[in-house]
Every structure is written in C-alpha cells, then in structure tokens.
C-alpha cells in the first residue's frame, strides 16, 4: 500500500501532460462528446491497471492511444457501429499522427482557434455555440426552422474558415516578416 502513492503521482503526471491528446484521439474516433467521455473513463481504468507494463522509455501517448483503440473498438461494437470504423492498420497510423502532435502545438492551435472564433460573424459564432453546446445540431435545426443538412453545410463552411484561420495565425506567428 505504501508504494502505491508514488506510482499514482507518476501516473497522474503522465496524464496531466497527455490527457488532452488522449481525449482528442478518442473523440476523433467516437465523435460524440459524451461517448468520448465514457470511453475515456474506461480507458483510464485500464491504463491504471496496466501501468506497470508501460515501458517508460516509450511514448506514453502512443501506449495510451493503443489501449484506447481497443476500448473504442469494444464500445463501437457494443453499439453495433462496427461497420463505420477504421481498419486496425489505419488506426495504428493515426496513433502515430496523434503522437506527433505535440502538446505545445495543441496549445498554440487552441489559442489561435480562440482568436479565430472572435473574428467570425456574430451569426456564425452563435450557430457554433448552439450546435457544439448542449442543444446540438438537430435541436438547433428545429429551432431555426432549417434542415439538418443546411446546418451541416453551414458548420462545414465555418469549420473550414476556422481551420484556415488557425493555419494563417500560426504561420504569421512563426514568420511575421512574411506577412504583409
């Protein structure tokens, strides 16, 4: 019992550094925030149980995402959604891509996103807030008297613009001399 505490501290520290990447990975696969939350909880429990097996010289993100991959697969299978799921091969490649995404870049992207949202038209900001918040796309469509498809189209346009804007912001920060 007494040597449990340092292990827990170490585990918590790994998580603190990488929880955002891990959550992002899970969310990218299950695509629903509450589902992602469930799978994240489940994954955490497994990670803690297997923490002794973790080779400290390896990447924690890669290891954790590997575990999460199985949890996601179990979860989707239980929901009968297995047919809308990437192959194992692609999943391994995606874990690599995820692990390459450094926490500092995530942070920069999030900050840039924040600035970019501010630059949106008020109407677009409102739509984002509604669709990404508790109301969700369907209820928003109903409230606005629009079709779900039309809302999806708007969201697609907004996401494109935001992604573009994040890119520009980061380039500008890295090379201010290049910008007019």
């Amino acid at each position: 019992m007494t040597d449990e505490q340092p292990r827990k501290v170490e585990f918590a520290e790994y998580l603190r550094q990488h929880q955002s990447q891990l959550f992002g990975y899970i969310h990218s696969l299950v695509r629903d925030l509450n589902d992602a939350d469930d799978v994240f909880q489940q994954t955490m429990a497994v990670l803690w149980k297997k923490f002794d097996d973790f080779n400290r010289r390896r990447s924690f993100v890669a290891w954790a995402c590997g575990v999460a991959r199985f949890e996601v697969a179990n979860f989707l299978r239980a929901r009968h959604r297995q047919h809308l799921y990437f192959t194992d091969e692609l999943n391994l490649l995606l874990i690599d891509a995820q692990a390459e995404l450094a926490p500092s870049e995530l942070e920069d992207r999030r900050t840039a996103l924040s600035q970019c949202v501010q630059k949106l038209r008020a109407r677009d900001r409102q739509l984002l807030e509604e669709c990404y918040g508790e109301r969700g796309v369907h209820a928003t469509a109903e409230r606005q008297g629009r079709s779900t498809q039309s809302i999806h189209n708007s969201l697609r346009r907004i996401r494109r613009a935001l992604f573009e804007c994040i890119h520009r912001t980061l380039v500008q920060e890295a090379h201010p001399e290049l910008m007019p």
Binding site: Q19, F23, G24, Y25, H27, S28, R31, L33, N34, A36, D37, F40, Q41, H83, L84, F86, T87, E89, L90, L93, L94, D96, A97, Q98, E100, L101, L106, R109, R110, T111, L113, S114, V117, Q118, R125, L128, E129, Y132, G133, E134, V137, H152, L155, R156, R159, R160, L162, F163, E164, I166, H167, R168, L170
Partner: protein, 525 residues
Amino acid sequence: MSTHHDMPDDLDDLIDDYLGGAMDEARLEALENRLRADADARARFVRYCRMHTDLHLEARACQAAQRAMNTIDRLEQGALSAAAPDTRRARRRWWLASAAVVLVGLGLWGWAASRREAPEEPQKEIAWLTNAQDCHWSNSQAPAGDMRPGKVLRLHSGLAEIQFQSGARLVLAGPVALELVSGNSARLLHGKLTAQVPASAKGFQITSPHGKIVDLGTEFGMAVAADGTTDVYVFTGKVDAYADAAHTPNPGAVSVQEKQAARIDARGVILQAANKAADVKEFIRAIVPPPRIVPRTFALDFRQAVAGTLTDAAGLGTGLTQRLPGTGKKLRAHDKNLRLNLEEGRLELTTTNTDLNTSFRLEWGEYLGVRLADLGFTGKEDFAITVVVPDIPELPRVGQFGLYAGLHSKMSIRGGMISTKEPRQYKQFLVENPDGNDVPPQYMGVGFPGDDLRLTLRREGKYYTLTVENQTTGSSTTIRVRQPVGLDGEADLCVGFFGANTQSDQQRTLKLKEFQVTVWTVAGT
C-alpha cells in the same frame, strides 16, 4: 509543417462528413484509403478532429460557466431560496469538469473573457457578498468571486451587505463606492455604510479621503460626501478617528464614544454635537428583507415509481402520499384501481361507486393526493393543484372526476366534470361539502367524452376557483366561489384528484398526467 492549406477539397469534405456523422460505408472507405496513402492527410485529419474537439469542449465550458454565473446572479438577487441549482446535466464527469476549468479562461465566445480581470496571480478573496436587496451595480456587474484587494464595489442603488475575512460586516447603501483593501480594511470613496465589528475583527479600518476610522469593537455609521468630508456616528462601543496628515495640520487620533458623532475634513477631526439625530437615522444598520413570496412546487410526471408512496396494483409507488382522510379505508395497499403507466407518463385511475355527498361508500373512495403542509402550507398561503386528463372516458349520469381540497371526507371542496342527464355530456362543477353533504353546486360549461382537459383548483385569498381548459375545443372556463368557512385557516389540508362512478356500477378509467401542486409561501415566516 505538413498541414498545408492547399489540400484538395474532397479530403476536407470526407473529414467533415466523418465528423458530422453523415457517412456511409463507401465514403468511409474512401476516407480510409486517402488517410492510409498519405501522411500529410493523416496530419491534417488529426488536427481537424482536434479543432472539432476543442469547439465541443469550449461550448460546454462556456455554457457551464454561464449557468454557474446565472445561478450566482440569482442567488445574489435573493430570488433563489430553497430551489436547487440547475442540475439538468447529471453527467458531470471529472474530465469535462476539468476541461471546463482549463478552457473557460480562453473564452472562445467572449463571455468568459469579458469577466476576466488581471489574469495571473490569482489573489484570494478577502470579502464576500452576504446579502443584497434591489441592488444596481455599475456595469450591471454584481461582485462575484472577485472580491480581492483593490476591487472597487460601485453600488448605484439598493442595499448590500458584505463580510470581511476578519468577520467585520458592512451594510452599503447605494449610491456608494468602496474599495477592498485587505481582509480587515477598506476605503470608502463616497457614500454611506454602517459597520458591525465583532471582537475578532477589532482594529478594522476604513479610510476616507480625509482620514480613517479604526474600530475598537463596535457598530458605527460612516458617510463620505462628494468633497471628501467624512462623518462618523458611533452606535455602540467606540472608535478612533484620524485625520490624514497630508490634509490637515492636526493629525492624530480622536476617540469617538457611543452615541457621539465626529466629522473629518480639512480642519482635522472635530467632535459634533450629538443633536444630529436626523442624520443618524439615515444610516441603515441591517437589511430587512420585504416579505418574499416563494412558490414551492410538487410535481409528478408519472414516469418513475417513487418508493414509500401509495402503490398501484403492481406495487409501484405512485408518488402520491395521502388519501383524503375518511376515504379508501377498504382499498388494498396495492390498490387494484391504480396503474402507473411509466411509458406513457400517466396514472390510470379506475373509478369506484362512491360519493362525498352523503358520504356514500367512501371506504372504497378514490380521493388521492398529498398534504399541503409538506410544501410549507400553514393555512394562510395561496395554492393551486393542476392535473391533465386526456381523452376523458364516458361516465354514466352523476359520474364525476376532478380535484379536491379538504380536511377530511366531511369537510372539503371539490370540482371538475360531472356527467349530466343528457347522454355523453359533462358539466363543469365546483361544490362545497361542509358536513358530509354538498351544498348546491355551481355549474358551468360543457364537455364531452374524448376531450382533453387540464383542470386547476386554486385558492386565492378568500376564494377558490376551478378552471377547466379544454384542449380539444380550445375553450377555458372558470368557476369562482368564496372559501368555505370550515377550511378557513386550516393548516392540515389534503389536496389531489378523484374519480367516482357515482350512482352507477359502470367503472371507467381516467388517465391522469402532469399532476402538480404549488404553494405560494412567504419566505422567512
């Protein structure tokens, strides 16, 4: 970096469809192939997904923060008493909660940003708002979680009570501006306050433009005029008054005793004649709340069984806790006339051949409900009972259903629909039953089997009203009668609904939905 923005659009389309959940197997396969073939595409994919995640988290955080602020605002305006905070989302797991904490500071939607002040070095709060009445704060911003050193509270009007870490309490009377200095001191920029300082906070100080007051365990009032002139009056105990050395040739402490007044201005501290009683009365020493009416509501949607309440045929708790005393004694514990239909959200009540009028077979009577006292009723308060009865059945003549309020089966008022001698026709009725026998009822309106009704029995002051909203025809009819003498001031009322195939053996089943009882209690009594 590999996330070039000149990726072909079709990849973005695929990713977007994937995130939106609008994807069939063929498109998923197309996406899979693109991602497998191209590392840049994968890099773009994880970043695009990440943005999607961040948008989700931020929106949640934003809304959670907004709800929290709304709750705080309501609390501070005193509008919220016994009501629970908004707990619509039970799913508050630690991840989302911690994500909210991390992200809320970013303020994507600008709301959180507008609330933010000096971002780094979070200082501890040194005071708390403990009471507020009709407060109008400058910029409409009530202090909330930001009462740190340096914070200036500007109250245009109304009364606010704040408590310092040390235990000292101030009542501010708007218009007033007060700067928080430490856990045991503040600066009065202008306006009036009174201070109550317990022994633990002895030494509590309030500075003013011309000096300061140091409390020695007491209660005092203090006012700063536009030109900085400071008046102090000691209600109990004593204080030391100092003039600021920079403003006056006569600095130094002057002791001000109980029921004494002093003025600090450019001349120094000057004790005043204690005949300024009129001014003294202007100090507000405590916030006395006006009587506040708080509705307390009990509602049943019949979508879940409630343990420990009257049970239906299958033993499910209906949520109802009482029968009108004097009724239903022979009914079984698992009442076979009741069926809780959880899927439809309704309680099905099969009528029995009974009648409150003449106390006919009431041991079988179905007069169900709750005790008003459980909602804080003491005999004086107004209240209302509502139930929705869709698709009303056809009861034979004199068959009746509706709502009641009563002490027991021989002292009640009831109203609803009663079947008339015309076939397939109801009238609306409201009748007092003062001694086991009905007085002549009030009749009005009309209704037919199959109608959807919403019934409300309400007490307002000395009157009872019964309103029937006919949702099938869109009409609404109200009958109003004086409160029965026998119910006046009685605290132990039982209220609820009933159904009876009076003077017939043809039982019918009523579907009861959305039962609700509200008592308008007076807070603080």
